[in-house]
């Protein structure tokens, strides 16, 4: 049973309007495989029934559920490793020196999924920058997905999740085991300020940031949306602040007001000039 092209168009238009995520034709299989579990969870017989409900309740809760189902939440601790190495060796020492007078540090993880990225950052700060203990450190972790934000808040991970990218030394130091799940320490959970932010809609009032991690999310958007988001981030970065993108993302040919700068093992982006 496959989705009719009008149903597919309806879903892809809605998802794009709500989240900027682009579902080109050919992604019918993706819509079906993502919405089938949702149909089941909602007690509906089929994906067609989900679309029917969407058409009937275009402002209903079903809209958020469909959008969430269409987000890709794949993530892991210390993803790609080198950005974190660069944060530890280059970027954070520099920012800390620069902010020594104000003793404040602000970081935004702008698509934090189930939390592995912001928690990697927390562990790194704890492990390598103990001098921050009397600083005002503000780490905002945001995502469009309510269910992902709930996961960040509980800080519980499966065995497969802690197997991925997390150094065993950090597992031992920052987690406890509770049955089959691994629970991150409450101290780290307290370090994060969680916000529901849809990157393609208007943003709430945000502070200015020393570092913005917006990794592996722009890839889902069209160029216009990418440009708009990059422009807004430029407006939020403190002078000399750094933006980190995912491995396959760049500002080049999209926003030339950003300069790509080598930071040790990886590239980061700073407002040019």
């Amino acid at each position: 049973m496959s989705l009719s092209s009008s149903d597919f168009k309806y879903v892809s238009n809605l998802v794009r309007a709500q989240s900027a995520i682009v579902l080109e034709s050919g992604k019918e299989y993706l819509v079906e495989s993502r919405l089938a579990p949702l149909a089941k969870a909602e007690g509906l017989d089929s994906v067609e029934d989900v679309v029917r409900r969407l058409r009937r309740e275009p402002r209903g809760e079903i809209v958020d559920l469909v959008v969430e189902a269409m987000t890709t939440n794949e993530t892991l601790f210390f993803r790609d490793n080198h950005p974190f190495q660069s944060l530890r060796e280059e970027v954070l020492p520099r920012v800390i020196e620069r902010n020594a007078a104000t003793k404040s540090l602000s970081i935004w993880c702008a698509a934090s999924s189930s939390g592995q990225e912001p928690y990697s950052l927390c562990m790194l700060l704890r492990d390598h920058f103990p001098e921050l203990s009397n600083w005002n450190v503000r780490i905002i972790a945001s995502d469009i997905s309510k269910s992902m934000l709930r996961r960040v808040k509980t800080g519980s991970y499966s065995q497969l999740e802690v197997n991925r990218g997390l150094p065993a030394k950090m597992l031992v130091k920052y987690f406890s085991k509770d049955g089959a799940t691994w629970q991150i320490s409450p101290e780290l959970i307290k370090m994060l300020e969680l916000r529901e932010i849809n990157l393609c809609k208007s943003w709430p009032v945000l502070p200015s940031f020393d570092i913005v991690m917006i990794r592996n999310v722009l890839i889902y958007f069209d160029n216009e949306t990418k440009r708009e988001i990059m422009g807004k981030i430029r407006g939020l970065l403190k002078p000399g602040g750094f933006m980190f993108l995912g491995g396959s993302e760049t500002t080049i040919n999209l926003d030339d007001a950003f300069a790509r700068v080598r930071q040790g093992a990886t590239w980061a982006y700073q407002v040019a000039g």
Partner: protein, 123 residues
């Protein structure tokens, strides 16, 4: 680069060896800790050993202790790959000198990501 896979399950050795060979490592195998130690001696420069915990003769924990007691192998990275998943065991292995720890079951990605953490280059 030379890598040693120590596991008493031949199927498991085949899986791990397959992953490692595919990215260009020279892979050697051993079925228990004791055989692992003789392989360490026979094969020059083992950069990494993947070590199961529960094995006859000499288990993986004992293997780690034995290797870490010898200065010759201080450059060899040791990674446990085991069904033992209690916190105490992870702590024990790290204290004995293991560098990383993978809990079975794992995927290929898990192994690749751990190699990256260990700074083991894939060329």
């Amino acid at each position: 680069m030379n890598v040693l896979v120590i596991d008493d399950s031949r199927a498991m050795r085949t899986i791990l060896s397959g992953i490692l060979k595919a990215i260009g490592f020279e892979v050697f195998e051993a079925a228990d800790g004791k055989e692992g130690l003789s392989q360490m001696e026979a094969v020059a420069d083992v950069a990494l050993a993947l070590v199961d915990w529960n094995m006859p003769e000499m288990n993986g924990f004992e293997f780690v202790q034995a290797v870490r007691a010898l200065d010759d192998y201080s450059a060899t990275k040791l990674m446990m790959v085991t069904t033992e998943t209690e916190m105490d065991q992870v702590v024990m292995a790290l204290d004995a000198g293991a560098d990383e720890y993978v809990m079975k079951p794992f995927t290929r990605d898990v192994i690749m990501e751990k190699l990256e953490l260990l700074g083991i280059s894939l060329d």
